[in-house]
Subunit: 252 residues, 2 copies
Amino acid sequence: MNLLLLDPGELDGRRAVVRGPRLVHAREVLRACAGETLRVGVLGGAVGEATIVAVDDHALVLDCTLDRAPPPAVPVSLVLALPRPPVLRRALEHLAALGVKRVALIHTARTEKSYWSSHALAPAAITAALHAGLAQGRDTVVPDVTLHPRFRPFVEDVLPGWCEGQLFVAHPASVRWPAQPCPAVLPAPATVAVGPEGGFVDAELERLAAAGAMRVGLGPRPLRVETAVTVLIGRALAGAEGSVAGGSALGA
Amino acid sequence: MNLLLLDPGELDGRRAVVRGPRLVHAREVLRACAGETLRVGVLGGAVGEATIVAVDDHALVLDCTLDRAPPPAVPVSLVLALPRPPVLRRALEHLAALGVKRVALIHTARTEKSYWSSHALAPAAITAALHAGLAQGRDTVVPDVTLHPRFRPFVEDVLPGWCEGQLFVAHPASVRWPAQPCPAVLPAPATVAVGPEGGFVDAELERLAAAGAMRVGLGPRPLRVETAVTVLIGRALAGAEGSVAGGSALGA
């Protein structure tokens, strides 16, 4: 845990009282003792440090200095075919850690219908995965995750208003569906759609193209959803960070 | 499984006989039946398709057409502080799926010594993770993974001959250790070093700098080892794929 996330309701001025799993983690993993400092952040708000005033079986009492803004969001929105539950949990954690703030989980022809009734989609499970990612990335701003169990109404009715910037669809190039290599730096903002294992079907690619999507490939290898998502976010991050293409500006 | 990996010893002309876990997977997960086709590849060699001649409790018999080269390697070598065992397994699988061919696992000051006696480092465990990644990425060329349980001898004696191209060290920027943003496209070839959770210590950064390493950051968020590795490989892939920086060439 790189950051202890506090609920605004746990704060009273500079003082915070933490119970439950974060108390257990602080005692058993961090072996927190009075007088030590922890990095803390308040959900949706500032980050900073806290001195441990007291810690016992019942509570962790902190004196907090919350004096900095959380890191800036990465300017990419994700449209993600609902993956199987363990992949969903890891993908949500990854994207929250990397600074993505808008995610639409959608149904596609190759998405297992049973995934929509998984416990991984319970609000508490989604929140737990997102909080774990925020704690990893020292961020406090919870991504907005929405569920869209019907493909066509999402693409035709929701996507036009939801999409920010150019819409890219990550899809392996084929004879029928040529794709350019994905840009090394995604423009900001951008929206990226990632299909299920096995990819979008033709009718879905047609509807996404009609919605203005540009098909881009990530090379000849079929990538796992988590891998493709992380590579794509890394390329949005490159834009946000002002990374340069090639080695020239490095004197390499 | 996107590719069934065959050992050269299982091939006799076009015919292959497969037993063990891949037989179980073919029967129970793929529900393979005679007459169907599977994607296959021979370890270290060509890829293609196979027609199932027969399948029963004892063997999967294939008629193979191995007529294509595996996908090209990604021109990046990785120096990776040995992570905890489950992260190692996932990292090896990821990097094999993405096409990395050279990995040095090293000890660092913040690496738990106990990791070096983990079962995850047994040759069979490493091979299993790498094969899983190759099957995912439809590749056949097993990455070369070497173990270096002492940091200084590795950096001073091994690295100079092992490193290909510019050496980058992914490390969060700080006052003492300023870092430029990591290039969006890594030059080819390149070597990238990723530290443990918590990062390299000062003495290690000094030794890596003396070995010619350039420090690069991946933004203000501390990333998991797996995440950092995937973002970095994605940027090497951008070079190999000829991706363009920015949206200009896309007409975006």
